[in-house]
Structures are given as structure tokens and as C-alpha cells.
């Protein structure tokens, strides 16, 4: 069975600085997708970034980028120029290429210090 592990329950970063959230996963599949979702106090789960396993190039969305290391089964999220609005719970998630259920990690709570 696939698993997703986020080893950092909480992190803090100074506003305007850069922070990296870690995620590892376990799978025997070759076709899959990885995601980072953000869940602010409003509870709405918002897609931050998505990576297809077959793509070697790391995904980037504005200030958010990933470091996808397929052999190591590692998928970290880098947030550059951190803003107060980035404060939220961040979930790393996995989806198999053969079914649709998303498997989430336990999350990392990110605090932004002004």
C-alpha cells in the first residue's frame, strides 16, 4: 500500500524568507501523481502544485516549487518570499495512475513570523 510521510509537524519562517517542507512517499508503482495542498483556517483545501511522476522537470507555480527526487521517493515543497497569507496546514498527497483516491500525509503546519 502507498504511504505518504511528512516528518515535520510544524515549521516557522520569517516573512520574505524561504522555507522547504519535506515529504517522502512509498510506492511500487511507476505511474502516479504528487500534490501539495494548502489548508488555511478557513478549511478549504487548495491545490498548490502538482507533479506527474513521468516528468523529470520539477513543477513550479510562482513562488512555489518542488524538488522531486523519484529514486529517493522524495517530494519537497519550497516556498520563496514567504508571505503572511502562506500560513496554513500543508499536505503532501499521492495519487496512483490507476485509481483516483488521493492519499494524504498528516500535514505540516507552517507559521509565518512578521
Amino acid at each position: 500500500a502507498q504511504t505518504v510521510t511528512q516528518s515535520q509537524p510544524e515549521m516557522s519562517v520569517q516573512e520574505a524568507e524561504t522555507v522547504t517542507l519535506s515529504c517522502t512517499y512509498d510506492t511500487s508503482e511507476s505511474d502516479y501523481y504528487l500534490f501539495w495542498y494548502k489548508q488555511p483556517p478557513s478549511r478549504q483545501m487548495i491545490l498548490v502544485i502538482r507533479q506527474e511522476a513521468y516528468k523529470q522537470q520539477n513543477a513550479t507555480e510562482n513562488r512555489f516549487s518542488v524538488n522531486f527526487q523519484k529514486a529517493a521517493k522524495s517530494f519537497s515543497l519550497k516556498i520563496s518570499d514567504s508571505q503572511l497569507g502562506d500560513a496554513a496546514m500543508y499536505f503532501c498527497a499521492y495519487r496512483s495512475g490507476v485509481d483516483d483516491k488521493i492519499i494524504f500525509g498528516k500535514g505540516t503546519r507552517l507559521h509565518i513570523l512578521p
Binding site: 495542498y37 478549511r43 478549504q44 483545501m45 490507476v98 483516483d100 483516491k101 488521493i102 494524504f104
Partner: protein
Amino acid sequence: DAGVTQSPTHLIKTRGQQVTLRCSPKSGHDTVSWYQQALGQGPQFIFQYYEEEERQRGNFPDRFSGHQFPNYSSELNVNALLLGDSALYLCASSLVASGGRVDTQYFGPGTRLTVL
């Protein structure tokens, strides 16, 4: 363009009761998935509905059932509520792409269920 909507926002029930939660997918989406998020945990997949049928199911008991209507909206029903059913219930909508798998899932704001 409205995103995924869910109702009600909050709900309080007592043990043994039954509850129905509702979800309207994003415009143009045809698939609805339901997740349970216990406090301090990541969401867990309950099931997915497509073409008014349960397409895939996670590791949840039969007390959890659902329905999808012709307009693609969906209901989640939970019977014989237990204290452990207290959680945030998230609905996610998506569109089945070529190859039969769904594209990116977009989440609603959730329904907070408290069982006393």
C-alpha cells in the same frame, strides 16, 4: 464560476442518529469524491461517485453510503453515528479525462460534523 459547495457548514448530532451531507461540484465536473478528515490528520478517502454509481471505495464501513444525482451533485449518508465519526467531511469534484481517470480534484470548504 462557482467552485465546489457543501452544506451544511456545521452539524451536531447524537450517537445512533443518521446524517446527510451535500455537495455540489464545480461547474463542468462530473465526478465527486468524499473524504473524512479527523482533527489533526490528513483527509482519508471514503468513496467516489461517477455516472450516479459508486466507482471506488476506501476502507470505510457500510454505515457510510452515498448517492449522485443526474446533475452530478452528491450526498454522503452516515447511519448509526459513532463518536469517532466526528470530523470534517470534504467533498472534491473532478472531471473524468481520457483514459478513464479523473483530472485534478478540487475541494469544497467541508462540513464539520460533531457527534455527541
